[in-house]
Amino acid sequence: MRLDIGRRRALQALAAGACLLAVRPASAASAELDPVLREVFGGREIREGRVTLELPRLAESGNVVPVTVSVDSPMTPQDHVKSIHLFAGKNPQPRVLDTQLGPHNGVARVSSRIRIAQSQQILAVAVMSDDSAWSAAVDVVVTITGCGD
């Protein structure tokens, strides 16, 4: 019995640790982004996971940076991605792109090309059909800034 309680405590501690880990990247999203995320998503919790953000870690030119966002979703009428959003907190305008999708897309994947004004963290957020929000962030180093062209 004592063993059992010990195991439960250990599991609780583990779960708490996992929560901390999951929350950390969202709070690490630069302070510039906080008001913007509130504007777009209200007070909704944005969890890390389910989203894959593909960007070059080192972009020679910040003017044209290829980006692909994919979301782990079955894309069924019951369970699908409603929207995908991109943010660059250190750009003069942190909102980059908002896209709307649905089950008719079959897969939740969008590619584009964006400007990155200076080395920073890029954030992708996906909103699901159950209104939960998921995210991924990638640090990008740019050698030529993306506002001169």
């Binding site: 044209v64 897969v107 969008v110 090309r113 400007r115």
Partner: protein, 109 residues
Amino acid sequence: MSRIGKPRVRVPESAKRGEVFEIRTMVEHPMESGFRYNNIGQLVPRHIVETFTCTYNGREIFRARLHPAVSTNPYFLFHTVATESGELVFTWSDDQGGVATISARIEVS
């Protein structure tokens, strides 16, 4: 009315019903951010594509809201499920009233 440059799309000519196919689009547009100065120190006015939509037999399947950080000649790649033969219509609208439209046909078997 301001002019938007030439749009280009790549859509497969045919697909099997239920198949997910890829759509690539691009339109020629300066995407002038409004944050840039010209060589005599004047701010270049903002001129960007603000919305892009794609419809499949009249039903909207993709919509994007663009901000100044989308690169010159906006490019999008996305997917959709082949449901029936018909027409995909792509429309770009900019903040100076410019509009560009192109359509593509797909045969679904």
